[in-house]
Symmetry: D2
Subunit: 149 residues, 4 copies
């Protein structure tokens, strides 16, 4: 789970470009805060628009970040003409998403030719302290991207 | 999976009230379109803000609806002083979310004293035709709600 | 989830042959009791060897049947030179496996060119009454089988 | 995920006793090879009875070990009068189970009052080399054990 070699030396730009082209991630205010080969981190500042009935980050937001962090980690290892589509993701919510930030960290477990398995963890950051609020295990399919995409 | 008895005769209002108190669901424009004992349906009109890089509904949105439809179905069976928190959810994305609407339908598989298992399916509606785009299996915990909630 | 066309007219024999070639299924005494296009049923009589600490069917056995029923359902739709490998499966245990038999019924949710999504349900049969004890959602990869296999 | 305090100082004996009382684990020849607070390891030697069509360990066996390793890890933290029942488990198979042994290592991610989240990894050991063949994320319910159990 530690030493992966990216197929594209421009892997970080590749992941950042893809992230920036997702209107929903821009809409909620998420930013890709770190990319390494086989790893990615997403940060999201608190907004009341993103909450559930109790004022904490909504579970759908937590799932969105978990999925995207694992997917971005997978994408960091792929050649320039490939993409990673989520086949399925499974998220355990283990604590409320309470804080000024959410941070999601994804990492590749296994990178295959046609399928990638990633996992990710989401933390709520309150007054500088990270609390583990969700853990995710997911599968992605490697697909050929349209030339114009 | 068919005939559940709601503990609260006002179950439909109970679910609608909870849904309305989730700012994130209002933010994305989702509406609770149907509630029956052990079942719930959510509809979401297309907006470009909710898309991924290819202009289709974002996977995080699909997961959010899947989770919420299954959770609303679970909540429809609970007494007035209880709530249902997502323990975990697992979503398979089986087709792109391409269309003018998403519709998510959740139903309870088993309603226990402390845990509820629900499943849900999400469909993309394009020109009046529903296409199955995701299926979800999830677990919820029954919790006592704060009196003021 | 209802009308699938098998690629191989000998689909039932195809699935039965594959089932019979799995020593572990023979070892536990499981039998493939029905095959239709996109559906399969497995039955397993009770033996104390297959139990957990309380004398009920072991969770590992329930998971094995759930996986195999969904996989057999997927395999029923594939051409003769293809096979279906489990990518991942997710099982919710909703009641103890208590009875004289377990019956697992799998069905295909979506059959794609490279991936198949199946679901399955496991029932414990006690004195002729079926009790729902597990539900499963899973992903399989379509692979080309070795000619000699 | 590292420093858990067991509620029972006899936690290792507690886990070993429970493991030994599961006939199915004895039947397949599995042994509990290590227990620490919040962690457990299970080993299983190869037998042709435990294989699938290609002679490798059957996916149902891999799932059984993954489930049991995560469950044993959870149980190691519980007081003497409590038990841990699997609510659900999700397993990704990432490589064939090919080797002379399987080793499954489970660890607790979060230990709550009523629910525990564990994860586990299964490795196939061939000629002394471990190959990662599955990863699992699961939820358990804490239950009060019958006095006589």
């Amino acid at each position: 789970m530690s030493d992966f070699a990216p197929a594209n030396p421009e892997f970080a730009r590749q992941v950042r470009d893809m992230f920036a082209r997702q209107p929903f991630m821009v809409f909620i205010g998420a930013e890709l805060s770190a990319v390494e080969p086989g790893r990615a981190e997403i940060r999201l500042p608190y907004r009341s628009d993103l909450t559930q009935h109790n004022g904490y980050f909504h579970g759908g937001i937590i799932g969105t970040l978990a999925d995207n962090a694992g997917g971005s980690a997978a994408y960091s290892l792929l050649p320039a003409d490939k993409g990673a589509l989520t086949v399925e993701f499974k998220v355990n919510i283990i604590a409320p998403g309470q804080g000024q930030w959410l941070v999601a960290r994804g990492e590749v477990v296994r990178s295959g030719r046609t399928l990638v398995v990633s996992r990710s963890n989401v933390f709520a950051v309150k007054d500088g302290n990270e609390k583990h609020c969700a853990t995710c295990l997911m599968t992605l399919a490697v697909v050929t991207m349209p030339a114009a995409a």
